[in-house]
């Protein structure tokens, strides 16, 4: 990118000197508040699922259609990706761009595997005739789990964009903040998945 870097010209900018705010701090704080809203979004979807999970309209319930081995593999993959995303941040703090980019790539590859398995699960269900329009239970299931999956997919694209920027600009206050925010997002999705795994799958088959 041909643009000169504004932060290089004005080193005082990042330090929040008199009258100017540390923009990267503001953005991180803003992202935490966004996560609150996302948390509420998922709580609403969980509430809807819990209300509807028994309304199978004569069709199959959770016990009949969930296949736990695949779900457990998905869970382990996503948990590992959260760990590697943490390793990426550690590498960044150590100043290693190579390590950072490497671990980020591992993270998105694991994320892609997770999405691959989830899509396979959804396709299989659809082939067996269990779709979003089959019953209220399945509407709730596909929407809740699908919303999580969409979040993860978005995260994959987002982290990819950050990787390209890291290649171009190196570790700067701006790219550093971007990595921190995406990693926060990724851990958040992991935490949401733990609830999905417990409430939808474990409590479903028990």
């Amino acid at each position: 990118m041909a643009h000169s870097h504004p932060h290089a010209q004005h080193p005082a900018h990042g330090e929040g000197h008199y009258g100017h705010h540390d923009l990267e701090e503001l953005r991180k704080f803003g992202f935490w508040i966004f996560l609150i809203t996302d948390c509420i979004l998922f709580s609403a979807l969980f509430a809807v699922y819990i209300v509807l999970h028994g309304s199978t309209a004569g069709g199959p319930g959770p016990k009949e259609i969930f296949e736990m081995p695949g779900v457990i593999v998905e869970t382990f993959i996503l948990l590992t990706s959260s760990f590697t995303s943490g390793l990426a941040v550690l590498a960044m703090n150590a100043g290693s761009r190579k390590g950072l980019i490497g671990w980020l790539i591992v993270t998105i590859l694991l994320g892609a595997c997770f999405i691959g398995l989830e899509v396979t699960e959804f396709v299989k269900l659809a082939e067996e005739g269990h779709t979003i329009s089959s019953s209220a239970f399945l509407s709730g299931f596909f929407t809740l789990v699908g919303t999580h999956g969409l979040h993860v997919s978005l995260g994959i694209f987002w982290i990819s964009a950050v990787i390209i920027q890291l290649v171009r600009h190196g570790i700067t206050p701006v790219t550093k903040r971007k990595v921190q925010i995406t990693s926060l997002y990724w851990h958040f999705l992991d935490a949401v998945w733990i609830f999905v795994f417990t409430i939808v799958y474990l409590m479903g088959v028990m």
């Binding site: 990118m1 643009h3 000169s4 870097h5 504004p6 004005h10 900018h13 008199y18 009258g19 100017h20 705010h21 701090e25 503001l26 953005r27 704080f29 803003g30 508040i33 966004f34 609150i36 809203t37 996302d38 509420i40 979004l41 609403a44 979807l45 809807v48 209300v51 509807l52 309304s55 199978t56 309209a57 979003i132 329009s133 089959s134 019953s135 209220a136 239970f137 509407s139 709730g140 596909f142 929407t143 694209f157 964009a161 390209i164 920027q165 600009h169 701006v174 971007k178």
Partner: protein, 656 residues
């Protein structure tokens, strides 16, 4: 081929009603006039550079206000159409189907496309200036919020001439709003219009929380924050908790309609009652979202025009914050009659009564602030004074409605209609009018004509009581809401007719306001002081209109009502506070992305309304492309050099 086009057009465009044809012609002529004026005066470039791509909070605020006043006009026309239909028994002015559309769009527009943007406009105008900040925390996001609201509003309004409007009430209860009850595209326009602008509202909530928490001027501790800013904080906290629920609710309704899901359907195990719970979990906090900033505006105005510090600052803050928490625990009072059982109803009846207590606290705070104050009766103060008795009556009828057993009588009657119009007009609209008059000189550098303003004020107020007081009684007489006509034998005619007169009086009041604005633009003198009301907070310490960077040097705050204390100190012969040296000011660059991305969102919404994926998918791609373009742009800010600041300040002071 020609027949095909004809078929398409008669399905695509709304046809058959002379009122709609009139509107079609009016829209076409207005569009042509705007295009002509912009071209003739060569203003396209100006429009793009100064407005469509701006990220300046003051300009974004002005655009919000213009858009919301246009929406007020449209919502008001809807109201007068309804009042005309109800003026006499057995009227044939609107068909029942058309009446359904009109009351639906009236409600949606007034709350979501009039009250919300007018509120955001005032946030934008006043909050950064009250904080002593250069802009909001995320200026780019702020512009994006505005354009999302604008495109959402356009999408919703479009249904009026294309495809047909939603007609299942402003909250679209299923199963009526499901495909079985509303097979047309109107309901989808409703979903996407609100969804797109709702995302904007959510982002504004985040933006202002960060602005207020992180960007207060040095020395402005929490006990020195101006009361309007406090009210914005409480409102934004409510926004970030409530709006995600709206997003989910509308998304689920969309899935029901688009993919045949069974969330709220009557078959397949769906649960329509769940929609009503979800929508009111947003809907009830929503009314507090719009009224809390109005409370903040009244607080600023009462204290400025009484020349006294606000009475009970701490209790006011506590009252606002407790309202924003309690507002989540009252939603069920909107449907006591829908079979939740006595114990659940009791819980929500009590929470509803409890929330009246902090509101009462505020009323006393305002009264005690005025007590022994030197009151000036300017238009902002007049609206504030009119608000107090109006809101007390509106609040008391609300407490009557909160008594669950009695609510079985009041439910869905005109008593309810009168109640919520009294709190929403008397509380919210009066407050925003007051705020608009109060901050107008800060926005444009001149006051609005007081004489015409007083005419507008009295006509509005008389109109209000003439319109809504009879509705309480016609409601107690058994008239229910959303009926398009009634018979002579009901005995409701006299009260309905009176109410219609009042409605038209309010319309006349609005015309007076339009006249007032037009007249003031032409004739009012420039306010050279920057402080026309002898104000108390930081926004009055800078020239009007505020320069691009707001404050040449960041103010150091030492007191609550800092600017007032500074004036008192100077009057007592002390030196003004020392100002630091000028430094280059860091500013965000204009960006076309908020506008372009919102256009893409519009395409997404429009495509999904008509199930035209060939529009929706390019729209989605556009949304992602613009997001990436923004992420990859590292050249988004610049510095205003000291020389330029000196020149701007000198020019502003010369006119002082």
């Amino acid at each position: 081929m020609l027949d095909k086009i004809k078929d398409f057009a008669s399905w695509f465009f709304v046809t058959g009603d002379p009122l709609i044809y009139g509107a079609d012609i009016a829209i076409a002529l207005t569009t042509l006039a705007i295009v002509f004026v912009l071209t003739y005066f060569k203003k396209w470039n100006w429009l793009w550079r100064e407005w469509l791509t701006t990220v300046d909070h003051k300009r974004v605020g002005i655009m919000y206000i213009i858009a919301s006043l246009l929406m007020l006009f449209r919502g008001g026309v809807d109201a007068l159409l309804m009042r005309t239909q109800l003026a006499f028994p057995d009227m044939k002015f609107l068909s029942p189907e058309h009446y359904n559309e009109v009351f639906t769009t009236h409600g949606v527009i007034m709350i979501l496309f009039m009250a919300m943007p007018l509120m955001f406009g005032l946030f934008n105008i006043a909050v950064p200036l009250q904080l002593g900040a250069r802009d909001v925390a995320f200026p780019f996001l702020n512009a994006l919020s505005f354009w999302l609201f604008f495109m959402g509003a356009m999408l919703f309004n479009m249904s009026f001439v294309i495809g047909g409007s939603a007609d299942s009430g402003w909250l679209a209860y299923p199963p009526l709003s499901e495909l079985t009850g509303s097979p047309g595209v109107g309901q989808d326009f409703y979903i996407w219009g609100i969804q797109i602008s709702g995302i904007g509202s959510l982002m504004t909530g985040i933006n202002f929380i960060v602005t207020i928490v992180k960007m207060r001027a040095p020395g402005m501790t929490w006990s020195k924050v101006p009361m309007f800013t406090w009210s914005v904080l409480s409102s934004c906290i409510t926004i970030i908790i409530a709006f995600p629920v709206l997003t989910v609710t509308l998304a689920l309704l969309f899935l029901d309609r688009y993919l045949g899901a069974h969330f709220f359907t009557m078959d397949g195990g769906g649960n329509a009652m769940m929609y009503i719970n979800l929508i009111w979990m947003w809907g009830h906090p929503e009314v507090y979202i719009v009224v809390l900033p109005a409370f903040g505006i009244y607080s600023e105005i009462v204290s400025t025009f009484s020349k006294k510090r606000l009475f009970g600052y701490g209790s006011m803050v506590f009252a606002m914050m407790s309202i924003s928490v309690m507002s989540y625990f009252t939603w069920l009072h909107h449907f006591f009659t829908m079979g939740s059982g006595a114990s659940v109803n009791t819980f929500f009846a009590i929470t509803t009564m409890v929330i009246a207590i902090p509101t009462g606290v505020k009323i006393f705070n305002w009264l005690f602030t005025m007590y022994r104050g030197r009151i000036t009766f300017s238009t902002p103060m007049l609206w504030t004074l009119a608000f107090i008795p109006c809101f007390v009556v509106g609040g008391m009828t609300g407490v009557m409605l909160s008594v669950a057993p009695a609510d079985f009588q009041f439910h869905n009657s005109y008593f309810l209609i009168a109640h919520f119009h009294q709190v929403l007009i008397g509380g919210v609209a009066f407050g925003y009018f007051a705020g608009l008059y109060y901050w107008w000189p800060k926005m444009f550098g001149f006051k609005l004509n007081e004489k015409l303003g007083k005419w507008a004020f009295w006509i509005w107020n008389i109109g209000f009581y003439v319109c809504f007081m009879p509705q309480y009684f016609v409601g107690l007489d058994g008239m229910t809401r959303r009926v398009s006509t009634y018979g002579w034998d009901t005995g409701w005619w006299a009260m309905n007719f009176t109410s219609t007169i009042g409605g038209f009086l309010m319309g006349l009041g609005f015309l007076f306001q339009v006249w007032q604005i037009a007249h003031s633009i032409k004739f009012m003198e420039k306010d050279t002081t920057g402080d026309p009301w002898n104000g108390r907070t930081l926004e009055w310490s800078i020239p009007s209109p505020a320069p691009l960077y707001n404050f040449a040097t960041t103010p150091m705050v030492t007191d609550r009502d800092d600017w007032w204390e500074e004036k008192e100190r100077i009057a007592a012969g002390h030196k003004p506070k020392a100002k630091p040296e000028l430094e280059p000011i860091h500013m965000p660059k204009n960006s076309a992305i908020p506008f372009l991305q919102s256009v893409c969102w519009f395409a997404v919404g429009f495509g999904l309304v008509f199930h035209w994926l060939w529009i929706a998918i390019p729209g989605f791609i556009g949304v992602f492309a613009t997001m990436l373009a923004h992420s990859f742009n590292y050249n988004s800010d610049y510095y205003i050099p000291v020389d330029e600041i000196k020149r701007t300040e000198a020019a502003a002071r010369r006119s002082v």
